[in-house]
Assembly symmetry: C2
Homo-oligomer: 419 residues x 2
Amino acid sequence: MTTLREQMVALGDRAVAAARRLAGAETDRKNAALQAMARSLRRCQAEILTANRRDIEAGRAAGLNRALLDRLSLNESRIEAMAGGIEEVAALRDPVGATIAAWERPNGLKIRKIRVPIGVIAVIYEARPNVTADAAALCLKSSNAVILRGGREALHSNRAISDVMRASLEGAGLPADAILFVDTPEREAVRELVQLVGRVDLVIPRGGEGLIQAVTEMARVPVIKHYKGVCHVYVDEAADLEMALTIAENAKCQRPGVCNAMECLLVHQAVASRFLPRLAERLTSQGCRLKGDPAARAIVAAMEPATEADWSTEYLDLILNVRVVGSVDEAITHIERYGSHHSDAIVTENLETAERFTRGVDSAAVYVNASTRFTDGGEFGMGAEMGISTDKIHARGPMGLEELTSYKYVVWGNGQIRC
Amino acid sequence: MTTLREQMVALGDRAVAAARRLAGAETDRKNAALQAMARSLRRCQAEILTANRRDIEAGRAAGLNRALLDRLSLNESRIEAMAGGIEEVAALRDPVGATIAAWERPNGLKIRKIRVPIGVIAVIYEARPNVTADAAALCLKSSNAVILRGGREALHSNRAISDVMRASLEGAGLPADAILFVDTPEREAVRELVQLVGRVDLVIPRGGEGLIQAVTEMARVPVIKHYKGVCHVYVDEAADLEMALTIAENAKCQRPGVCNAMECLLVHQAVASRFLPRLAERLTSQGCRLKGDPAARAIVAAMEPATEADWSTEYLDLILNVRVVGSVDEAITHIERYGSHHSDAIVTENLETAERFTRGVDSAAVYVNASTRFTDGGEFGMGAEMGISTDKIHARGPMGLEELTSYKYVVWGNGQIRC
């Protein structure tokens, strides 16, 4: 009987060997594997749904709530969405081998900075089987081997999906071990996995705050976090209030459960009394609750009082904090203090104020006169994404294929030595 | 009496506040501060040397060896070198605010990817006072606040240098807290520092393997490592042997104590019997010891036998491992197994073999027909450097000003909302 550590080390070794083969894989071959995966997922739908039913039944027996059961559930259209997503990744440009920069030194050395895969990426996620397909496809296209560790609740579904994908890799002449799946249910497997220094090059946790914090604390290898979004819209005194209303409504209500939805609206005191009643009317009609600071509640009495803790809360729901501020600087200070450095917007017609805001707000994406909801790989034109990084190291904002690469310097000379 | 943790948290808060002010600092003001630092270091030479003498005397009393005492020692020319280094940083282009990429989306959103500082960087190093000046200058130019933690042996020297630099910041109207110095000697201060999630954005350990491993294991914030170099030169069957000799001599002997010096030479069996006797003669005459595998020793009997552990040893000294290989693939396999992914070179006139090598070797810098010694920010034309990263996340190879930045997306619209 091997220990968990030994099992994870063995898995890591297989991933490293696969990553080495994958580093030199031609684009056509990777795309062929991706196309085969999409076809196989559709063809093996029945087996995948059978496996998924086992997870659902176990989840019901374990008392999972309805939201979790919904995320866990697969059906025909969700499998089709997975397959379609893989085909989209196949259609994206291969980042590996691209020249990022090239220059020549006075001594004749020709230096090229070239995109290369990171190597082995571990993705730790919750009970969402579609992440299995998304993450594996993005890692394969960027020539990284991936070790997948999904939530235990989705064990059978994830195993079925990854089996299908592994078979497609082999069919295309690529190592099946480029996609590895941790199928031991023990929690401790995650700890071992994120401490595989020298075997795992990067860990990407995807899920709730608890998961991300736990992974970050245990990890001994680099982690890129896809953290919460406490996003703001600041309505400046020079705002087009009609535009501000439309943006606020979109940022809050179009899809409240995602990380780039607005959680807090800040409004300049000069326009607050004109703007807030209209905002309240518009959002309340959509079923949104409003919580305000005293100045906001003095204008719209129906708002609940916002507590200190509310300002840094990610509701992921139809609830909005509202605060009246005296200046753009006060707005920036609020955002820096309570925000999550994810996505924040200003609505203003004043160019100077807009620039002050974009310089002062230290977030992955800062918007002028647009909704925060655009922070997304697809909306940015990057194609599929692994998630949205709120870290500042390596990747920030939407993390697409390029963000799953590293680089190396290739230097050609004709005998140069250093003096 | 505050705890160490409280002290470090307070230091982190001061750094965060300074980083926020620094993010918007004009290039001219940063350069003025750097120029003032250089002048002040020269002017305060006597005080700095007095402080350094205290460290030296304490070090002698504590029985530090001669190499450590040498690294610790300052004199007029070393202070001049520090001042000159700071002036060089002042002359470099400011990376902050540069547009990395810009594009427009079909819906009219204008997306710009802009270089921004990382925020607060902690630099953990050993008893080399010059790192204090180098690291502080690079962080200031890239608008990062820095928390310096040097070896306890250099406490007085480092405090004197950082006091001078902090005074220059204030003189230029920048926050003195942009350069903070941990002056408690307790080892535990490092642990607290590298666990300041939310206050410290990046940790850069610089020093020996022990220090780097300890920091990496303790850290809860991202770490970029400047690790050891087990660098190789592979002499191919199609090599110009005269060039190979020159490159091997340079890579091994020009400065053996640095991370980009060669530790192991691999030679194709087809040229080994012609090449190795000449190599042995050339290197032995420079005082270099050679250790070989059986095939190499069959050609040069005077070589000592190399042990398995030797292949992954960073000697930092005039000792060279030598191995005969049957092909470029065998060379690549050796390098991937025993190397440190730092800098590796091939000497060959065969273009195809060269490309096979540059693709197959997964190192920060891969050379064709040039010495490994060129892996260096100055030699790459990047100006000063913080060190050489052997990591693959964020920065790889020489880490200059750009590598000390992150980015953000600034998105301008005219009312766009997401559908």
